[in-house]
Amino acid sequence: MKTKSKLLSAPYTVWMTIFIVLPMLLVAWFALTDRQGNFTLENILSVGQYSNVFLRSIWLGAVATFISLLMGYPLAYLISKMGEKRQSVMVMLVMLPMWMNFLLRTYAWMTLLEDNGLINSALRAMGLPGVHMINTAGAVVLGMVYNYIPYMILPIYSVLTKIDRSVIEAAEDLGANSRQVFLKVVVPMSMPGIISGVTMVFVPAVSTFIISKMLGGGGNLLIGDLIDMQFLGSAYNPNLGSAISLVLMVIILICMGIMNQFDDGEPGEGGVLL
């Protein structure tokens, strides 16, 4: 079986070379050439002009990731403590919104947050002054948390259910109170889940362009919007767009490298945030 079946992956290798490796090389090539095809570093260098957009994306993505962790961890923990049957219902309830297209989920928040939206109408009906919420950075963070929090809850939950009960009992027998058990045993042991949750929220949050477009108005441009503009938008410039994509990939690789550091070493508090 062994020798011949190696060849079975040949079509896949060819496919991935054409549709994954080659496109990435094209991105690199476009990033390093000008419109005439001559080598240049200008695209990469001019990405620096957009450092504020990059910082905003990373900042908003990090805040959204942190909030998702703060909100998602307790829920994952509570679910993991429930009976078997309720657990599977709860997990299904966490997953269900994910199955609805994220454009529709984000659109739902538009109708809630608008100046004449439901929340403001409700506030006014109670005689309170309205609050401007749509087209703010806060609305973008809210959209990110709403869309990606299931990706935080599910991996943490699945790690928590695998923790050996006897380890917790051992800690209790050795005199740890419930807080110590949680902070010194449960949290460190759930670190792999936290790390994959953080990655799975942070990567799409940093690179989104729909949420910022729909909930952030024009004033909260993110890296994704910048890339979109270079390829399909008004500022058509695939060379610059490729350079921005390349920088985005490098940033995410660096972030994931930092994250993986926490997997082995002592997990520090707050260290989950970049």
Binding site: M1, S5, K6, L7, S9, A10, Y12, T13, W15, M16, I18, F19, I20, P23, M24, L26, V27, F30, M71, L75, L78, I79, S88, M90, M92, L93, M95, L96, P97, W99, M100, N101, F102, L103, L104, T106, Y107, A108, T111, L112, E114, N116, G117, L118, S121, Y146, I149, T199, S207, I210, I227, D228, F231, L232, P238, S242, S245, L248, M249, I252
Partner: protein, 268 residues
């Protein structure tokens, strides 16, 4: 006390997750003439009627389903075969293959999208032919579905006893027949999971389709243009229909799994 706090917290998070969806659903039944999305003026099904008369939506739906079926079928066959190949590799080549497989899952979707767009535009420049459209959508969807198929088939292959296949051959079974009679039934759960994942990912995909579709409409792309251009409760009606379909599917799957689990317990 502690328990009540936990319940309240769970309730609040689920309220956060479901309130927007509920609002969407409620307002899909709103009988309003104007674009006002938030004033209730009576019950009506007219947005559902409009939805099912909208030829563009139906065409987008047809495209979406066609792409999902083709992408799921192609990536399942290609991915399952590849997983068998990868499983029999030595350590180093296997690591290389796994890195290539993991890459599109870690890479931001938008970068995958624009890189594929560059590829298709570049290929048209070189070889001619039609630019972005159904063809590029098929290729793009197969590409991003493949890793999920491989990652759900590989664990099943690893659990399988390799002697089974050899035993079948020793007993005179030709390799292809041995694959269908021995290997495939063993890894079937992984293959089915991979196919379902591929299908749903393909239906739901917006970002990669957005960059590789040209003027072809899929449902998510159509939804996007709806949210951008005009405000119509039709979109609420569409959300409600989709939500109902997904919920029904999930309940069916869950009930079946529950039954399978119970049956498994009784066997043991």
């Amino acid at each position: 006390m502690k328990k009540a706090g936990g319940r309240l917290y769970t309730f609040l998070v689920f309220l956060f997750l479901y309130a927007p969806i509920l609002v969407l659903i409620v307002f899909s039944f709103n009988d309003t003439e104007t674009a006002s999305r938030t004033v209730w003026s009576g019950f009506s099904l007219k947005w559902y009627e409009k939805l099912f008369e909208d030829r563009l939506i139906l065409e987008a739906l047809r495209n979406t389903l066609l792409i999902a079926v083709v992408a799921a079928a192609a990536s399942t066959v290609l991915g399952t075969v590849a997983a068998i190949g990868i499983n029999s590799m030595k350590r180093l080549p296997r690591r290389v293959m796994m890195n290539i497989t993991n890459f599109p899952m870690v890479n931001p979707e938008i970068v995958t999208g624009v890189s594929l767009m560059l590829l298709f535009v570049f290929a048209v420049g070189l070889f001619g032919g039609r630019s972005l459209g159904m063809g590029s959508l098929f290729a793009a969807h197969i590409t991003f579905c493949l890793p999920y198929v491989i990652l759900s088939v590989l664990p099943k292959l690893r659990q399988m006893d390799p002697n089974l296949y050899e035993a079948a051959q020793d007993l005179g079974c030709p390799p292809v027949k041995a694959f269908f009679k021995v290997v495939l039934p063993e890894i079937m759960p992984g293959v089915v999971t991979g196919m379902i994942m591929a299908f749903t990912l393909s239906i739901d995909d917006f970002v990669i389709s957005y960059f590789t579709s040209g003027t072809t409409q899929t449902l998510p792309i159509y939804i996007y243009s709806m949210t951008r251009k005009r405000v119509s409760p039709e979109i609420n009606a569409l959300s409600t229909v989709l939500f109902a379909v997904v919920m029904a599917l999930l309940i069916v799957v869950n009930v079946r799994q529950g039954r399978a689990r119970r049956a498994g317990k009784e066997d043991a």
